[in-house]
């Protein structure tokens, strides 16, 4: 007789095994970040890939989100005669939530997929094996520079996104909603607290870590040629997004309490 619980059990065991493998991978990646040799050239190259080349996409996302946010808050606030709170809520929404989350989601698509595809291709074409035979630890040469670069660059990108997002709200408020520019900026700066910035940048660092580790994990374990690399890339994007959204809630809840 077929046991109806067997398929469920198999899935649960599979998920737990995957979590265990990912945890072991993360542990090895973190250890590689702090154990010499540190490949400084690789780190700077990844900073350029993750940070500098992501600036356009982050900037465009932030400016449009800031502008749309200002319009929505204006419409919502008008129902309670609270239109004057547009600058306060825009800066709060951008710095605490939208800046880090949207930057994280955009980079999950751009960076995590790129890492998975690059490392995955190296895996299926035996380049990672070749690196090992050349007495170089792939974790130190490939994974650690990406994890460090993403963890350090994402807060910088989010800081830029915060400024551009607030400016997007400012431009719409001043040009379309007829706010006074000086008063808008004064309200923005008066309302903003250091904790809002710290929360946003903390989230950004954690999201950067997630993006790099999930992308590297999927790429490192890819197998089966082009199909396997494609699957690794998809899994990296989906896994990063789900983890970012879940961890975003946990960090927010921690800071609120």
């Amino acid at each position: 007789m077929i046991n109806p619980f067997a398929p469920v059990g198999r899935v649960v065991i599979g998920v737990l095994a995957e979590i265990g493998r990912f945890a072991a991978f993360v542990g090895r990646a973190v250890a590689a970040c702090f154990a010499p040799p540190i490949f400084v050239g690789q780190f700077w190259r990844q900073c350029a890939q993750v940070g500098y080349f992501s600036l356009p996409v982050i900037g465009l996302t932030a400016v449009f989100i800031g502008a749309a946010l200002a319009l929505n808050i204006y419409v919502g606030g008008a129902r309670f005669n609270a239109e004057q709170f547009v600058p306060n809520i825009v800066v709060l929404g951008i710095t605490r939530e939208l800046g880090p989350v949207l930057a994280g989601l955009m980079l999950a698509g751009r960076v995590s997929a790129g890492i998975a595809a690059e490392i995955g291709t190296m895996r299926v074409t035996e380049q990672i094996d070749a690196m090992t035979t050349l007495s170089t630890d792939p974790f130190r040469f490939l994974v650690a520079p990406r994890v460090l670069a993403a963890t350090l660059c994402l807060p910088l990108l989010v800081a830029v996104a915060d400024i551009i997002g607030v400016m997007g709200g400012y431009l719409v408020a001043v040009n379309s909603l007829h706010f006074n520019g000086a008063i808008y900026l004064r309200n923005t700066f008066q309302f903003m607290e250091p904790q809002d910035i710290i929360l946003g940048l903390t989230k950004a660092a954690v999201f950067g870590f997630i993006i790099a580790t999930v992308g590297s994990y999927q790429g490192y374990n890819s197998q089966g040629g082009a199909l396997g690399v494609g699957r690794a890339t998809t899994n990296a994007v989906v896994g990063s997004i789900v983890l970012i959204l879940a961890v975003n809630y946990l960090i927010t809840a921690f800071f609120v309490e």
């Binding site: 190296m122 074409t125 070749a130 090992t132 035979t133 007495s135 170089t136």
Partner: protein
Amino acid sequence: MSTPKLQLVGIKKRLRGRQVLDGVDIDVAPGKSLVIIGGSGVGKSVTLKCALGLMKPDAGQVLVDGADVTRMPQEIRARVMRKFGMLFQGGALFDSLAIWENIAFRLLYADGVSRKDARERAIEAMRKVRLTPDFADVRPVELSGGMQKRAGLARAIIAKPDILFFDEPTTGLDPITADAINDLIIDMVKDLGCAAVSITHDMASARKIADEIAMLYAGKIVWRGPASSIDSSGNAMVDQFVAGRADGPIQAVV
């Protein structure tokens, strides 16, 4: 009798529920070239990966210069890797690096040699494998298959290894380029005085580069002998493989 440079003793490996290696025993002496032949999927690459430490065998030992390196911690095993040079089937050159950086990878990133010295040594290695230094600054994708093999060979020999491994060195090459690669392998092994282990199903290549040939089938070495006696092995499986016949004790998987 001198200690073998490399020795595999009773290596067993199971992958995806299939017993790929079921007690493989091989050894190779310094200055000698051993070629392992066998059909597709019999475990030649797995044997090589176990020898290199890229895969951990389920049972058995890998001895390098008589020392068991099978279950060494990764850090110590990395030091043993310095004795190895490997030419991968597809070249396995790093796409993002120039040819000279590929060849000098070990010098640059494992041995801490300066870029200037590493480049000089890479160009010297390129000359040894008859690859013109004009290609030093191009990316692997710009080279033909034969040139990529030469670059891979230069990378394998640059640090003067004690043991050279060749994974299907002539696969995918035209007969003339394949023969040129075979000549290079013979020259390099002679020059360095190292032990060489190759896996191939190209009999022309095996005859040319091997001192000894071993045949792998069903996870075991079923025959081993001098390359000169491959045509009179007295083993039905070897005879079938060498003749390239579909009928015989080995069942073709199609």
